[in-house]
C-alpha cells in the first residue's frame, strides 16, 4: 500500500515533473517524507512567494508547467502574490498546498486558512481534495487546465489526512471537464476574411503579445511578418517573439514604448493583434488608441475579444494554428491579386523615419554609469541569447527598450502584476530549467532587497546566476512619478542602507563587487560572466535618470513625452 502523499508524487512523475520549488511545514510532512525517496528534485527556497516565482521562472523559460508546494495557512497565503502574477501573465503553474485534516477544516485549527476560498480569484481553477479517491483526478486535471487553452495557475489543496490515507494510485485514463471549452482552430471563414483585410490594408501594423510565446508561435509570426512585410511591435510580454534584430521589428509599444511603435499604432489603418489583450499600459487613453485602425484580434480566450477594444474581425483560436492558416490564406490571395506595394512601401518608410527621428538609444556619460549604458552593455554581452530575468521598475523598462532577444523565453518578467521581488527567484527557476544557459537576474536595489533570502538558495544549489543590481539608491519608478506628477515631493522612495555586496555575497560564499565607473563596466560584466558560479554585481548608476519616452497616465500614446521637460533638481 502507498499513501496519498506517494500518490501525489506518482501523479507528478506521470506529468513528467522534474523539479518542485517549495517549503515544508506541518501538514505537508507526509509529502516531504515521500519526497525523501523520490527522484523528483525539490528545491528549498527561503520563502513560499519565491517558490511560486521560481516555478514561474521555470515555466516561462521552458513553456512547461512549473510546480510549487507550500504548507497550509501562512505557506499557502505566501503563495498568493505568485499565483496572481502567473494569472496575469498566463503562466502555467500547479501549486500544491497542504491543508489541515478534513475533520479540522473550519475549526480555526493551527495553521488553517481558507486556501480554496482565498485563491479562487488568484487561479484559473482550484481544487480542495477531500478524499483519496479524488486525488489523482484532481492533480491530473490541474495539469491539464494549467497547460491548455490560455495557460494559468491551478492550485490543489490537500488535507493532511488525505496525504496520509492508505491507498493505491488508480490510473486516470481520461479527463472530462465538460465546461472547459478551448477553441484552438480558429474559424476558417474569419481567417479568410482576415487575410483579405490584411491584403487590402495600406498601413498594416502587427501587434504581437505574450500569446505568441505561450503558443510557441514565433516561427509562424516571423513567416507572417515577412509575408506581409509589415512593421511589428512585441509587447512587454511578447519580447523575443520576433527577434529583436529582425528588420521589421520596431520595439515595445505603450507607456514606455518607442516613438515609432506608438506612432505606428496611432497611424495604422489595420492593427493585427496576435495573442495580446490591449492592456492599459499599451493602449494609453483607450478612446484615442489607434484611431484610424480596424482591428483583427486573434486570441485563444474569447473573453479578451472586445474586452478593451472592439474587434472588427475576431478570431478565437490558438495563435500558432491561426497564423499557419492565415499564412496559407495569404499565399492563396497572392496568386489572385497584387498587393498595393506602393502604399506599403510608403508606410514602411514612414515607420523607419520615425525610428530614425527618435531612436531608443543608450546614453553614455563620463563619470557616472547611466542605467541605459548598463543595459546596452548587458545586451552586448548577452548577444541576444542569454536569459534575462528582470525585476520590476525602471530597469525593467530600460531592458525592455534596449535589450534585443533573438528568441522567445529569454526575457522573463512580471508584466501584468508588476511584482517587485520577482527577478531573482524567477532566475533561479530559469537556471534550474536551463542549466547550460547564461542567466542574468537584472534587479533594482528595491526588488533585490525583497529577495535577498534567495541568495541562500542560489548558493546551496550552486546556480551560476549573474545578479546585476541596477542601483540608483531609489525606488526609481515611484520616484519618477513623484518627480513628474507630485511636484518632485519625494516621499519614502530613498533606499539608504544598501548592504556592502562584497560582504553580502561573501557571506553566502560567492563573489560580490560594486561598480561605479563607466570605464570598468564592460570588463566587470565580462568578469562576472566568466567567473564560474554565482556573481553579485552591484552597479551604481546615475541616481536621477528617468525612463523616456513616457506616456503620461490618461494620455493617448502618440502624446508621449520624449525627454525630461526641464533639468531636474532634487530639493
Amino acid at each position: 500500500m502507498t499513501n496519498g502523499a506517494k500518490i501525489v508524487l506518482e501523479c507528478l512523475a506521470r506529468e513528467k515533473v522534474e523539479c518542485i520549488f517549495g517549503y515544508p511545514g506541518g501538514v505537508t510532512l507526509p509529502l516531504y517524507d515521500a519526497l525523501y525517496d523520490s527522484p523528483i528534485r525539490h528545491v528549498l527556497v527561503r520563502h513560499e512567494q519565491n517558490a511560486c516565482f521560481a516555478a514561474e521562472g521555470w515555466a516561462r523559460a521552458t513553456g512547461r508547467v512549473g510546480v510549487c508546494c507550500a504548507t497550509s495557512g501562512p505557506g499557502a497565503t505566501n503563495l498568493v502574490t505568485g499565483l496572481v502574477d502567473a494569472m496575469m501573465d498566463s503562466i502555467p503553474i500547479v501549486a500544491i498546498t497542504g491543508q489541515v485534516s478534513t475533520r479540522l477544516i473550519g475549526s480555526d485549527a493551527f495553521q488553517e486558512a481558507d486556501t480554496f476560498g482565498i485563491t479562487r480569484s488568484c487561479t484559473k481553477h482550484n481544487f480542495l481534495v477531500k478524499t483519496l479517491a479524488d486525488l489523482p483526478q484532481a492533480i491530473h486535471e490541474a495539469f491539464h487546465i494549467a497547460a491548455t487553452g490560455r495557460p494559468g495557475p491551478v492550485l490543489v489543496d490537500i488535507p493532511k489526512d488525505v496525504l496520509q490515507a492508505q491507498g493505491r494510485y488508480a490510473p486516470v485514463s481520461s479527463i472530462h471537464l465538460p465546461g472547459y471549452k478551448v477553441f484552438t482552430e480558429g474559424h476558417a471563414g474569419q481567417i479568410r476574411r482576415a487575410a483579405q483585410m490584411i491584403w487590402e490594408a495600406r498601413r498594416p501594423f502587427v501587434y504581437a503579445g505574450g500569446g505568441i510565446v505561450a503558443a510557441e508561435a514565433s516561427e509562424e509570426l516571423r513567416a507572417f511578418v515577412e509575408r506581409i512585410d509589415a512593421p511589428a511591435v512585441c509587447t512587454l510580454m511578447g519580447l523575443g517573439a520576433l527577434a529583436g534584430t529582425h528588420p521589421n521589428f520596431v520595439s515595445m509599444p505603450g507607456m514606455h514604448g518607442s516613438y515609432a511603435a506608438n506612432m505606428g499604432m496611432s497611424e495604422a489603418d489595420l492593427l493585427i493583434a496576435l495573442g495580446t489583450r490591449f492592456d492599459d499600459r499599451v493602449t494609453g487613453k483607450l478612446s484615442a488608441f489607434a484611431p484610424h485602425a480596424k482591428v483583427i484580434h486573434v486570441d485563444i480566450d474569447p473573453a479578451e475579444i472586445g474586452k478593451n477594444r472592439a474587434a472588427d474581425l475576431p478570431v478565437v483560436g490558438d495563435v500558432k494554428r491561426v497564423l499557419k492558416k492565415l499564412n496559407q490564406a495569404l499565399d492563396d490571395l497572392a496568386e489572385l491579386k497584387p498587393l498595393n506595394e506602393q502604399a506599403r512601401a510608403a508606410w514602411r518608410d514612414r515607420v523607419k523615419e520615425w525610428k530614425r527621428e527618435h531612436p531608443l538609444e543608450p546614453e553614455f556619460s563620463g563619470d557616472e554609469i547611466k542605467p541605459q549604458h548598463l543595459v546596452s552593455e548587458l545586451d552586448r554581452i548577452s548577444g541576444g541569447e542569454a536569459i534575462l530575468a528582470s525585476d520590476v521598475g525602471q530597469h525593467q523598462m530600460w531592458a525592455a527598450q534596449l535589450m534585443r532577444f533573438n528568441h522567445p523565453r529569454l526575457w522573463l518578467n512580471s508584466g501584468g502584476l508588476g511584482s517587485m521581488g520577482f527577478g531573482l527567484p524567477a532566475a533561479i527557476g530559469a537556471q534550474l530549467a536551463r542549466p547550460d544557459s547564461l542567466v542574468f537576474a537584472l534587479v533594482g536595489d528595491g526588488g533585490f532587497q525583497m529577495s535577498i533570502p534567495e541568495l541562500a538558495t542560489i548558493a546551496n544549489e550552486r546556480l551560476p546566476i549573474k545578479i546585476i543590481v541596477m542601483n540608483n539608491g531609489y525606488l526609481g519608478m515611484v520616484r519618477q512619478w513623484q518627480t513628474l506628477f507630485y511636484n518632485n515631493r519625494l516621499s519614502q522612495v530613498t533606499l539608504d542602507g544598501f548592504p556592502d555586496v562584497e560582504k553580502l555575497a561573501g557571506a553566502y560564499g560567492f563573489t560580490g563587487r560594486t561598480l561605479e565607473h563607466p570605464r570598468e563596466l564592460r570588463s566587470a560584466l565580462r568578469e562576472c560572466v566568466d567567473q564560474p558560479g554565482p556573481y553579485l554585481l552591484n552597479v551604481r548608476v546615475t541616481p536621477f535618470e528617468n525612463v523616456y519616452p513616457m506616456v503620461p497616465a490618461g494620455a493617448a500614446i502618440h502624446e508621449m513625452v520624449l525627454a525630461p521637460p526641464q533639468p531636474l533638481e532634487v530639493a
Partner: protein, 177 residues
C-alpha cells in the same frame, strides 16, 4: 440596469463562489440569485439578477463561460424566457378584514398556506412586478412580512449546449496492463 443571467453548472463545492466571486470582484451587486439541482443531479441551474450596465453584460457572460464549472451561461435579459418569482407573505389582519384579504389574494392567484387568529401566510407566484403589487396591496391591510425566492427563469429558445469532450491521457494506461 437589471440583467438576468441563467447558468447551467456543475453541482460541486465552490461552483457558486466562483460565479458570485466574478460579480463581487467587479463590485456588482446581486439583486437575486437562485440555484438548485436540475434533472441531472450533477448539474445545477442558477438564475442571477444583477445590476450592471448593459454594455458590461457580454464581458461578464464570457467570464462566466470561462469558469471550469460552468457549462453554459446565457443572457436572458432580452431573450424569450418565462420569469417567475415566488413569495411567502405573512399578513396580520383584523378579524373583520379576513374575508377581504382572501378575496384580494384570489385576484392575484395567491393562496393561503397557513391560517391563524392573527392572520394568514400566503403564497404567490408571478413576475416581480406582480409580486411588488401584491405586497403593496397586502401592506395596506396590515403589517406584513415577506420572503421572496428571487427570480427563476427558463429560456423559451432551445439553445444548443456545447460541451467539451473527454481528453484521453496517454499516461493513464494502467502500468501493469
Amino acid at each position: 440596469m437589471l440583467q438576468l443571467i441563467s447558468l447551467l453548472m456543475e453541482n460541486k463545492p465552490g461552483a457558486l463562489m466562483r460565479v458570485t466571486g466574478l460579480l463581487t470582484a467587479r463590485g456588482y451587486n446581486i439583486e437575486s440569485l437562485t440555484v438548485a439541482r436540475t434533472l441531472d443531479p450533477e448539474l445545477s441551474r442558477m438564475s442571477i439578477v444583477v445590476e450592471i450596465e448593459p454594455q458590461q453584460r457580454a464581458q461578464l457572460i464570457k467570464q462566466m463561460n470561462k469558469l471550469i464549472n460552468v457549462l453554459q451561461a446565457s443572457d436572458l435579459t432580452e431573450a424569450p424566457a418565462v420569469r417567475r418569482e415566488l413569495a411567502l407573505v405573512r399578513v396580520r389582519v383584523e378579524r373583520e378584514n379576513r374575508a377581504v384579504i382572501l378575496k384580494e389574494a384570489e385576484i392575484f392567484g395567491a393562496r393561503p398556506v397557513d391560517s391563524s387568529l392573527e392572520g394568514f401566510a400566503l403564497e404567490v407566484t408571478g413576475d416581480p412586478e406582480k409580486i411588488d403589487e401584491f405586497m403593496s396591496v397586502m401592506g395596506a391591510y396590515g403589517e406584513i412580512e415577506v420572503t421572496r425566492s428571487g427570480l427563476v427563469a427558463v429560456s423559451l429558445e432551445a439553445k444548443k449546449l456545447r460541451l467539451a469532450p473527454p481528453v484521453f491521457k496517454e499516461e493513464g494506461v494502467p502500468q501493469n496492463a
